[in-house]
Amino acid sequence: MNRLILGLLVRRVAISLLSLLAVSVLVFAITAVLPGDAAEEQLGQDATPTALAALRAQMGLDVPAPLRYLKWLGGIARGDLGTSATTQLPVGELVASRLPNSLLLAAVTALFSVPIALTLGIASAVWRGSWFDRVASTGAVAVVSVPEFLVATLAVLVFAVKLRWLPALSYVSDIESVGQVLRAFAMPVLSLCCVIIAQMMRMTRAAVIDQLEAPYIEMVRLKGASPLRMVMFHALPNAIGPIANAVALSLSYLLGGVIIVETIFNYPGIAKLMVDGVSQRDMPLVQTCAMIFCAGYLILVTVADVCGIVANPRLRHR
C-alpha cells in the first residue's frame, strides 16, 4: 500500500514538474499575446516611442520573446527566478517578502474553516431534514452568496470603524504579540471563511448523505450504532474522496484567490503581487507567481487524491 502511494507520489511529482513547465509556457504565451508589454504599462500615458524603446531595452524586452523565455527557463534551472521587469528587483526577493504572509493567512484560515465546515457538514448530514440542517445549509449558501467585498467591508465598518475593536488594516506595521496577530487576522479570516466554508460544508453534507443511503449503513444501524458513529466510522471514510477534493479546491482559493481580501485589508500577500504583475505585464513575476499557485494547487490536489485512494481500498489495491 505504501509502495503504491509512494509510486503515485513519484509519478505525480514528475508530472507536476511537467505541469509547471506547461504553466510557464502558457503564462508566457498569454503575456506575449496580451496587448501591451511591461514597458507600455509602466509608462502608461507617458509612453512615447523613444521612451518605450529605452525602457524596453532596459527591461530586456528588446530580446525576441522565445529567447527571453529560454533565458528565464535557464535561470530557473539554476535556481534564479529572474528579475522583475518593472522593479528590476530579483523576483525571488519580491516573492519571498510576500509568500510567508500569504501562507500565514491561508494557514490561519484553513485552521478555522476546515474543522468548522466539516463539523457543520457532518452535523447537517446526520440530522438531514431537521431545522438544524435547513438553517445550516441555507445559511451557508446565503453567506457565500454575499459578495466577498461586501462581507469584508461590512466587517470593517462594524468592527473597526464603529466598534474600534479591530484594526481596519491587517498589516500596517510590525506585529509583535500573538494577541495582535489574532486581532489583525480576525477580519480577513472571517471574510475568507465566509467564502470557502460553504463549498466544503455542502460537499461534506452531500457526500456523507450519499453514503448514508448506501445499503451497508442499514447493517450498521442494525448493529445499534449511534448516528454519530454511523457517520464518523462508516459514511465518512467512504466520503473522504469528494470531501478531500472540495477541501483542496477551497484551500487552493486561499493562495491565489484572496485578492479582494488582500486589497480591502491592505494585506501584502502574493495574490496582489501577481495581479499587479499581470497589470504591468511583468512576465517573470507573473510566471513565478503562477507557478507557485500551480505548485500549491498540485500539492493540495495530490494530497486530496492520496486521501481518496487511501480511503477506498478498491482503488488502493487495484
Partner: protein
C-alpha cells in the same frame, strides 16, 4: 411549473389535484419556497424590463443614493438612477448569464470527469493534469486574454466564466465517479461491451448526481460573484446594463448608511442562490431515489 396553472377539468379534478399535490409535496415546503422565488426571478428577468417604464430608467437627475420613496421604490444608485429598474434589468444578466455559465461549467466538468474515469487510466491522468494546469492560470489573466482575443460580449462572458469553473467541477465529479467506477454494476456494463459514453451517462452519472447538483448550486453562487469581478475588468456586460454583483460593487459606497442601493442587489443575489439551492436540495427525483422506490 407550467401545467400547474392549467384549469382543472371537472371530471378529472380529484385525480389531477392528487397529482398536483404529489408533485408539490415531492418538493417539500422549502422546495416550493425555492421554486416560487426562482419563478419570481425568472419572470422578472423575462418580463420585468418590458413592464418597467423607461422613464424611470433614464432619470439620472435624481438624488444620489436616494432613500426609498414613492417615486423610487428601492431608492436610487450612485448616479441617481432608479434601483428598481437597475435590479430588474440586472436580473436578466445574473439569472441568464450566471445560470448558463454554471450549467456549462458543471456540465463540461462533469462530462470530462466521467470521460476520464470511464476511459483508460492514461486518459484520466492526462485530463486531470491538463485541467490542473488550467487552474493555475490566473483568472484575471485569463479574462484579459479573452477580452483581448475575442472582444467583450455576453457570449464571451459566459464562456470565460464557464472555463474558469470547469476544473473545479471536474475535480469534484471525478472524485465521486472513481468510487462508482469501482463498483460491480459498472463492471457488468463493461462485460456487456458498453461504450464509454453509456457507462459515463447511464451507469455513473445518475449515482453522482446528488453531490454534483449540490456542487452546481454552489458553483452558481461563485459564477454570480465572478461576473461582478469580470465586469469590473471590463469583460462582458457593458454599461448601463449591469448584473447584480456589479450593482453591489458600484454602490458599495452606500454601505455605511445601509443604503437600499447596496442592500437590495445583495438580497437579490442571496435570494436567487438560496432559491436555486433549495430547489436542488428538494428535487422530487432525488428524494424518491433516496427512498429506494419510485
Amino acid at each position: 411549473m407550467k401545467n400547474t396553472v392549467q384549469p382543472l377539468d371537472a371530471g378529472t379534478a380529484p385525480a389531477a389535484r392528487g397529482r398536483l399535490f404529489r408533485r408539490f409535496s415531492g418538493f417539500g415546503l422549502s422546495g416550493i419556497v425555492g421554486l416560487l422565488l426562482l419563478a419570481f426571478w425568472l419572470l422578472a428577468a423575462l418580463l420585468g424590463p418590458a413592464m418597467l417604464s423607461r422613464e424611470l430608467a433614464g432619470s439620472a437627475a435624481g438624488e444620489v443614493f436616494g432613500p426609498m420613496s414613492a417615486a423610487h421604490w428601492l431608492g436610487t444608485d450612485y448616479l441617481g438612477r432608479d434601483m428598481l429598474v437597475r435590479v430588474i434589468d440586472g436580473a436578466r444578466y445574473t439569472v441568464g448569464v450566471a445560470l448558463l455559465a454554471t450549467v456549462l461549467a458543471s456540465g463540461t466538468g462533469t462530462t470530462l470527469a466521467l470521460f476520464a474515469v470511464a476511459s483508460s487510466p492514461a486518459v484520466d491522468a492526462t485530463l486531470s493534469r491538463l485541467l490542473d494546469t488550467l487552474t493555475a492560470i490566473p483568472s484575471k489573466m485569463f479574462a484579459l486574454i479573452m477580452v483581448a482575443g475575442f472582444g467583450s460580449s455576453v457570449a464571451m462572458l459566459v464562456a470565460t466564466a464557464a472555463v474558469i469553473y470547469v476544473p473545479g467541477a471536474f475535480r469534484i465529479a471525478r472524485s465521486l465517479a472513481v468510487n462508482i467506477n469501482a463498483l460491480d454494476y459498472v463492471t457488468v456494463a463493461r462485460t456487456r461491451g458498453e461504450g464509454t459514453l453509456y457507462i459515463m451517462l447511464r451507469e455513473i452519472l445518475p449515482n453522482i448526481l446528488g453531490p454534483m447538483l449540490s456542487d452546481l448550486g454552489l458553483r452558481f453562487v461563485y459564477v454570480v460573484l465572478l461576473l461582478a469581478g469580470l465586469s469590473f475588468l471590463g469583460l462582458g456586460i457593458q454599461p448601463p446594463a449591469a448584473d447584480w454583483g456589479s450593482l453591489v460593487r458600484e454602490n458599495i459606497g452606500a454601505l455605511p448608511e445601509a443604503g437600499a442601493s447596496v442592500i437590495v442587489p445583495s438580497l437579490a443575489i442571496a435570494s436567487l442562490t438560496i432559491a436555486v439551492n433549495l430547489v436542488i436540495d428538494n428535487l422530487p427525483g432525488r428524494a424518491a431515489r433516496e427512498k429506494g422506490a419510485r
